[in-house]
């Protein structure tokens, strides 16, 4: 932890712990009400579908998620709040979506679900929902440290035709406006989340790719190591903040 603290202080622009704010705090009253009311939050539609998928047998193994993991409300509690997490077999951290697909391929003997497909979003939303209200707590140890550092480097690296780093908006200029929108601090507290702009649920990687296109940079592919490392860094940066999935954002 000492090493982490030293690494943190190397970047003067980072947001002090007491000033960290979820994207929720920057939203209008109406959008906040939408997130808070389970019968108005469209993300719950995916949670509902995810619950059905959780209990459905699939693949050559004819096994459901519930056959191994039982009741998700107990077994999946806190799981999303500590992803991406290290996978020994692959020797690197995996995002929650990747973890679900590893389980599908290895245990259920079913084909991996496509990124941003309805089924993968639904399962992710259902698992993420079980961590709602818990503090974000990605496990950082010697194994994940290099990936965290890589994510931090990506966050601070200028890229794209606009030559912007993530940190230039989200560390240095949060709270100010980019055209009509308030720049948030980029804490991934509620993914997968429902964006009104998308009219759909979407993953954190979809959001990251949007941002990359915004700075005229070529986005990394879904599941690319760079995106997972960035996810890990963002979750670490938001550690201790309350997990809100499925959130609603404008």
């Amino acid at each position: 932890m000492v090493a982490l603290a030293v690494a943190t202080s190397a970047f003067a622009g980072e947001i002090p712990r007491t000033e960290r704010r979820s994207g929720y705090d920057f939203m209008s009253r109406e959008t906040r009400a939408m997130q808070d009311d389970d019968s108005a939050n469209p993300g719950l539609l995916w949670v509902l579908e995810g619950e059905a998928l959780w209990n459905r047998k699939t693949g050559a193994a004819s096994r459901s998620c519930a056959d191994c993991h039982g009741d998700a409300r107990a077994s999946m509690k806190g799981v999303a709040a500590r992803h991406p997490s290290f996978d020994a077999a692959q020797g690197r951290p995996l995002s929650l979506e990747q973890r679900i697909n590893v389980c599908r391929v290895n245990q259920q003997k079913a084909p991996a679900l496509a990124w941003e497909s309805r089924d993968l979003l639904a399962l992710t939303a259902y698992v993420a929902r079980q961590s709602r209200g818990l503090p974000i707590d990605p496990a950082v140890d010697q194994r994940t440290q290099p990936f965290l550092d890589a994510g931090r480097a990506t966050f601070h690296r200028r890229q794209g035709q606009l030559n912007l780093a993530c940190s230039q908006c989200h560390d240095d200029n949060w709270g100010r406006r980019l055209a009509g929108n308030v720049i948030p601090q980029a804490h991934p507290t509620g993914y997968p989340l429902y964006r009104l702009e998308w009219q759909s649920l979407g993953s954190l990687q979809r959001r990251l790719r949007n941002c990359l296109v915004g700075i005229r940079s070529e986005p990394y592919d879904y599941g690319a190591p760079e995106l997972v490392d960035l996810e890990l860094f963002l979750m670490w940066r938001a550690h201790g903040m309350t997990f809100e999935a499925p959130a609603v954002r404008p």
């Binding site: 009311d37 389970d38 019968s39 108005a40 469209p42 719950l44 539609l45 509902l48 579908e49 059905a52 309805r118 009104l196 009219q199 759909s200």
Partner: protein, 106 residues
């Protein structure tokens, strides 16, 4: 895979005004958008929403292409008697979903 979320109070006093909230999963494709190859994406929307209370229609809404995906409809009615409140969404491509909830009025 259509799914709907419905929020209606399970019990109410006779004569009380109750709020009914419905949220349904639907893409509401407007019919005006094109693919990146220029082909028109055909319209696929919910056209009509009807709510009946023990068989009597109490609310009806026509939906149009400008309405966003996953329509959220909130309205109110007077709790008159115990029974069933049914919701029905119908639309393009034979879309039809019916959900119902029980209410106790005393």
């Amino acid at each position: 895979m259509a799914s709907a979320l419905i929020n209606v109070p399970a019990r109410a006093r006779r004569g009380e005004i109750i709020e009914l909230k419905t949220l349904i999963s639907h893409p509401m494709e407007s019919g005006h958008r094109r693919t990146h190859l220029g082909a028109l994406i055909p319209r696929d929307i919910i056209r009509l929403f009807v709510c009946t209370y023990n068989g009597t229609e109490v609310f009806r809404a026509e939906l149009h292409p400008a309405i966003a995906a996953n329509p959220f409809i909130v309205f109110s009615t007077v709790a008159t008697e115990s029974g069933t409140i049914a919701f029905r969404w119908t639309g393009d491509n034979g879309f039809s979903v019916t959900e119902s909830v029980a209410i106790t009025v005393g």
